[in-house]
Amino acid sequence: MTGQPLSAPARAVLTADEIARLLPHRHPFFLLDRITALEPGASAEALKNVTASDGVLAGHFPGRMLYPGVLLVECVAQLAAVIYGSAAAQSSTGDLVADVADRVGYLAEIRQAKFMKPVFPGDQVVFRAQSGPRLGGLISVNGQASVGRELVMTARLAVTELDQP
């Protein structure tokens, strides 16, 4: 075997099964594989492995598979839901994970989304999101995605959380 040894993927702070307790999303719209850093209510980091077997790549595009930019934005929105869902779980149970998926609200705004490089099957995408000011039920979120050392997407979002589902 030649080349650099592969580094091990970052250790899971939350596994995919644990993420599924925080989010209402399910296949084919459950997009994050692993949470690798988490500060509830403030910030988080996640991994997503893009694979050719993902059904969306069959249509985007035949003969030229690339991961849709809008789904990179959706990954940041789901990571935002992990940030505030884990905060809700922690305040109610003391644990990072609880069945709080019904608190997830809506994506209210996508602002300044930039897509710097395409993402292909085989890429491991690292997402980072930081929660910003909250006002009137809206939460601002800054997000970015990178593959290796290269930034592939940045976006600012506004999302909502349902206090009384």
């Binding site: 602002r111 000011p133 909250r134 006002l135 009137g136």
Partner: protein, 95 residues
């Protein structure tokens, strides 16, 4: 305490400058298709005024924090009703 004419003039000028800065900030950050100088100091920002919505409110709060270092929280939402109230809030927080 009685204010001197010079002091009153200085404060009025500073207030006017701050109003102009906030108007420019509104237009720039919310991509409004209006001349900043056409925004009245008492014009409502929402509804029949500049017709901003709740999502714009969040952006405006972030812009004020970024530019003036002044936070706007759910307890301060009255300060977003008009430009004058917003400028009052910024001046009060900086005092």
């Amino acid at each position: 305490m009685v204010m001197t004419l010079d002091e009153a003039t200085r404060r009025a000028t500073a207030r006017q400058d701050l109003c102009s800065q906030v108007k420019q900030l509104l237009v720039d950050r919310l991509s409004l298709d209006v001349d900043p100088q056409a925004i009245g100091d008492d014009q409502p920002l929402f509804g029949r005024g500049l017709e901003l919505d709740s999502i714009d409110t969040l952006e405006l709060a972030m812009a004020v924090e970024d530019t003036f270092g002044v936070t706007v929280t759910d307890d301060d939402t009255q300060s977003l009703l008009s430009l004058n109230r917003l400028v009052d809030h910024i001046e009060g927080a900086r005092a």
